[in-house]
C-alpha cells in the first residue's frame, strides 16, 4: 500500500513538474494530502456486550471482525477485545475452544492465539468508556489500555442487543447514544484519534450514531431506527444461531480484502443490501472530512507500517563489561548452607504465638464511649475529683 502511494505521488509530482515552478509546490502538497490519510498507527476496540449461551452469535460477530483485523495486520497489542461471556469453553459448547461462524463448523473464528483483554464481568459500560477516554486506574496493564495518539485510526465495533438510542450491556445496564457521543468528543478533545470508524450491529443500530458531533467520525450500522437486525443461520449441532446477517456478509466482504487491497469505503457501504440483510444498513459520513471514496478499507481494518530506509551506518557500541565487584561476589561462597522450609511443622504450629496485631488508635466509637463515661462521672460527682484521678 505504501508502495502504491509512493508511485502515485511520484507520477503526480512528475506531472506537475511541467507546470510553472511557483504552482508546483502547492499542487504537490495538495495531492499528497488528498491521497494520504495522515495516520501512523491503527487501533481496534471490539466489544461484545451480551451474556448467556443463546447470545453465541454476538461473540462470533466480534471474533470474526477480530480475525479479519488480525489477518490484515493489526497486532494484539493494538486490539482491545472485550467479550462479555465465554462461549468457547462454555460447558454447553459441544466443541470446546471453538467458536464457529458458518454452519457445519466450517470456520473457527476463535483460533489458536486469541488474546481477550476484558472478559466476563469486566465488560461494563464504565470500563468501556474508561478504555475509550483513557481514564484508567494507574495499575491497569498495557494490554487493557487504548494507547492511541492523534495520528491513530481507530476501529470501534459494537454488537449486542440494542434499542432506540441505547445498547444493552450484559443484561443489566445500558449505554445511551448521548454518552457515546460525549465519549467520542472527549477523545477528540484529548486528541486520541485521527479518524474513527464506528460499526454497530444491533437492532435499531442507526440510533446510536445519530448524536455524534465530533469531527472525523464515520459510522455504519446494520439497521435503521424501527428495524431489527436479524441473525443468519442456526447450527443444529451447536443449537444456537451462529452469526448475525450484517456481520456475516461483512466477514465475507473482508475475507476478500488483503493488506494491499484498494477497496474503499463505498464498497463497505454496499455490504449487505436489504435483500440479504432484511434490515436496511445505514451509514453516516457528514462528520468525516475526506471523501469516503478515497478512504481505503485497510486504513481502518489493516495496519500501517512506516518503514524508513536509511543509508547511514550506525556504530554499535562494545558490550558492557561485567563490573569487577560482581564477579568477585559470585566467587565468594556463603558459608551457611540453605535449606527448604518444613511444609507442615506440627510442633511449631501448635505452639505458635498469636500473631502480633498492629496497634491502631482507638476509633471514634471507643473514644466517644469513654468520653461519655467520663462526662457522666464528672457531672455526677463534680469536677473536684479530677485532681484525685490525675
Amino acid at each position: 500500500m505504501a508502495k502504491f502511494l509512493f508511485v502515485t505521488i511520484c507520477t503526480v509530482a512528475n506531472l506537475f513538474a511541467f507546470l510553472p515552478v511557483i504552482h508546483g509546490n502547492n499542487f504537490e502538497t495538495k495531492a499528497t494530502q488528498f491521497f494520504s490519510s495522515g495516520h501512523t498507527n491503527n487501533w481496534a476496540v471490539l466489544v461484545c456486550t451480551s451474556r448467556f449461551w443463546f447470545n453465541y452469535r454476538h461473540v462470533a460477530n466480534v471474533l470474526s471482525v477480530y480475525r479479519s483485523v488480525k489477518r490484515l495486520g493489526i497486532p494484539d497489542s493494538h486490539i482491545v477485545l472485550m467479550l462479555a461471556d465465554d462461549m468457547a469453553c462454555n460447558h454447553r459448547n459441544p466443541k470446546p475452544a471453538t467458536v464457529f461462524s458458518h454452519k457445519n463448523m466450517e470456520l473457527n473464528v476463535y483460533g489458536d492465539d486469541v488474546e481477550v483483554d476484558y472478559r466476563g464481568y469486566e465488560v461494563t459500560v464504565e470500563n468501556f468508556l474508561r478504555v475509550l477516554t483513557g481514564r484508567l486506574p494507574p495499575s491497569t496493564p498495557r494490554s487493557k489500555r487504548l494507547l492511541s495518539d492523534d495520528r491513530s485510526n481507530i476501529l470501534i465495533y459494537l454488537t449486542g442487543h440494542g434499542g432506540n438510542g441505547f445498547l444493552k450491556f450484559q443484561d443489566s445496564e445500558e449505554i445511551s447514544n448521548v454518552e457515546l457521543a460525549d465519549a467520542f468528543e472527549q477523545m477528540w478533545q484529548k486528541r486520541r484519534y485521527n479518524e474513527l470508524l464506528f460499526i454497530i450491529d444491533t437492532c435499531q443500530g442507526a440510533s446510536m450514531y445519530e448524536r455524534f458531533y465530533s469531527p472525523n467520525i464515520m459510522a455504519l450500522a446494520s439497521s435503521q431506527v424501527g428495524e431489527d437486525s436479524l441473525s443468519h443461520q442456526p447450527d443444529l449441532a451447536i443449537g444456537v444461531h451462529l452469526m448475525d446477517r450484517y456481520t456475516f456478509y461483512l466477514l465475507e466482504f473482508l475475507e476478500d480484502i488483503h493488506p494491499a487491497s484498494q477497496a474503499n469505503m463505498n464498497d463497505l457501504f454496499k455490504v449487505c443490501p436489504k435483500s440479504q440483510c432484511v434490515s436496511t444498513p445505514g451509514h453516516r459520513t457528514d462528520l468525516f472530512l475526506r471523501d469516503p471514496g478515497s478512504v481505503l478499507i485497510t486504513d481502518f481494518f489493516g495496519s500501517v507500517r512506516k518503514v524508513e530506509i536509511t543509508r547511514e551506518a550506525i556504530n554499535l557500541t562494545n558490550p558492557t563489561e561485567l563490573p569487577q565487584d560482581l564477579t568477585s561476589l559470585r566467587n565468594e561462597l556463603k558459608s551457611e548452607a540453605l535449606f527448604y522450609v518444613d511444609q507442615l511443622p506440627v510442633a511449631d504450629i501448635i505452639h505458635q504465638k498469636p500473631k502480633q496485631k498492629d496497634w491502631h488508635p482507638p476509633d471514634g466509637f471507643i473514644l466517644g464511649l469513654w468520653s461519655l463515661i467520663l462526662l457522666v462521672f464528672f457531672k455526677t460527682y463534680g469536677i473536684k475529683h479530677l485532681k484525685h484521678i490525675f
Binding site: M1, A2, K3, R51, L72, G73, D86, A88, C89, K95, P96, A97, T98, Y110, G111, D112, D113, V114, E115, V116, D117, R119, G120, Y121, E122, S139, T140, P141, S143, Q170, D171, S172, P259, A260, G302, S303, V304, R305, K306, V307, P319, E321, L322, T327, R330, L333, K334, S335, E336, A337, L338, F339, V341, D342, Q343, L344, V346, I350, Q352, K355
Partner: protein, 596 residues
Amino acid sequence: MATRHLFIELQTLNRRAKLKIIFAKFQCLCIIPALVGVDKKTCIQFCLCTFQEEMVIRPLYSGDIYASFQFRTQWDTDFLHDGKKVSHYRLFPKSLGQVLSKFSVRELHISFTQGYWRTMQWGQPFIPSPPGAELWVWFHHTVTDVDGNWKELTNVLSGIFCASLNFIDSTNTVEPSASFKPLGLGNATDHRFLRYATLPREIVCTENLTPWKKLLPCGSKAGLAVLMKSEKLFHSSFHSQAVHIRPVCKDWQCTSTAWELRQTLNVVFDLYTSGQGKKEWSLFKMFSRTLTEACPLASSSKIYVDVTDNPGGELFDLSPSSPLISTAVVLGDRRTYSVYDLTKKETFGQLRSLNLLLRWKGENDMLRPPLHAERYVSGFGLQKGEIHTCLYNSHPYRAYPVLLLDSLPWYLRLYVHTLTVTSKTRENKPSYIHYQPSKDRLRPHLLEMLVQLPPHSVTEVTVQFERALLKWTEYTPDPNHGFYIGSSVISALVPSIVAMDTNSTRDRPLFSSFFPTKEESSYFMRVYTEPLLVNLPTPDFSMPYNVICLTCTVVAVGYGSFYNLLTRTFQVDEPSAPLAKRLANIIRRLRGVPLL
C-alpha cells in the same frame, strides 16, 4: 515493501525462529571459550540458565489417561540483589522477571484450572490445584507495603495471563497463618508477607493458554509444547496450567540460590468424550499431534510412561517400547517408568516422529488414596445453611495431622459457635485453631485448623451460616446462577509406603521433586475440595421500574382526578343537534324565523 512484511508466511517464520533458537543455543556453548574465542567473563553473563522439559503419562484405572507436562527453567541470578539491574534475559521470560524484581516477590504460584480433580477415580495429582484461578505469593521481607504490592501484582498478572485477576481485592484475599509455607529456600517465614487468593468463577480457555505458551523458551514450535493444541486440551475432564516461581539450590552444596520457573500443565482425557469409548490411547488421539524433535534449548527432554502396574505387559501394551526404565519415588510410592529421551535421534525411529500407543488388555483395581476430602452445603431455603467438610483417612493404622484452610466470603455469616469437628461420632478437638472473622465488604472469613485424623475414619467439620442480603449494585449480572465459594485447602503429611528421599539436591525427575521432603516416613500433600455454589436471596431487579410505574399511575389517576374536581369549573355544554335539525335551523335562519 512494508506490506510484504505483514505477510510473513508460517514456513519462513518457522525457519527464522529455528535459526534464532540455534543461534541462542550456540551462545550457550560459548561457556567453553576455547571453541569460540570469546571472552570468558562475558560468556558467564550469558549462559547461566538451563531448561528441562518432561511429560509423564499415567494411565488411570477408569480408562482415562493423565498427562502432566513440566517445563523448568533454572536461572542463576539474583533479582533482589541491590545495585544490580538484570537486563539480559535468555530463557527466563522477561515479563515475569520484571514482575519479580519490581514487586520484590520471593515466591509466586498461580494456577488456572478447569474441572475438578476426582481423587477417588484418578488417585493423587502430581501438582494439585483448585478449580478456577488461585494465586499465592510470598513477598520479600524488605517490602513495606505488602497490600499495595499485592494489588498491583494482581493487576499486572491479569494483563500477562489475560485473566480477570483484577477482581482479587481485600474481599477475597487472606493471610494464612500456618498453611502455604514457602516451597523454596529460605528460613524467614513471617506470614505477614504471604497473601493467598482464589477466584473459583474464573474460566480457563485458549486466551489463557496463549500467553502461557509464549513464556516457554521454544514457544509452541518445538519440543513437548507442540502437543498443546487448545481444541484437544479443553475437550477434557480436567485441565490445569500453572506457573510456579521459587528460589532453589543452585548446586548440590546448596550455598547459594537460583531462580526456578516451573510451568506445569495437567490434563486428564476422558474415556468417553475424547477416547470414543475405546480403551486405547495414543499421542495422536490425545493431542492430534506427534512429536518430531526436542526443544533445541532444552538440556533434557523426556517422556515418562507409568508402567508400574504392568510388569509383564498383561495390563496394557506400550509401543514403541523403550529400553530405558527408571524408578522414582513419587507420592509416597515407588513407581516404574518407561523413559523416552527426545534428545536422542533413535527415539523417533524410522518415521522421524514419536507416537506412543497404549492399548489396554485387562482390568485392575486402584489402591485407595490415603487422603480424600469432600465438601457440601446442606439445609434448605435462602436464609440459613450448613457447610460440611468430610475428610477421609483410609490408612488402616496410621493417624496423621492435616491443616484445613477455609476462606469464606463475608456474605456467608458464619456462626462459629456451631463449629464442630467429629471423627467416628466422637468429638475431635483440633490442636490449633486460627479464626479471623470477616468484616462486611472488607475481609473474608479465615479459618485454619490443625486436626489429627484417626486411622481408617471419616472426620466431619460442620459450621452453620446465614446468608446476607447484598446491595443492589453488588449483584453480578446473572445472580440467579449463584455465588461461588472457593475450595478448602487441606495440607497433610501423609505416611508413605516407601522411604522418601530427603536429599533435595540429587538429580530427580521433575514430577517427583515439586514438594520438598523433610522426613523419610511421610510426604507432604495438598488436597482441594470442591468449590461450593450458594444462592443468595436475589431481589427482583425489575421492581424499581414496577414501583415507579405503579406509583406514577396511582398519582396520575387518584390525585389527578381529585385535583381536577377541586379546581375545574363546570359548564353545561349544549349537545350538538342532529343533522336534520341543523339543516332546518339553517333554512329558518335564512327565512328569518326563530330557531328550533
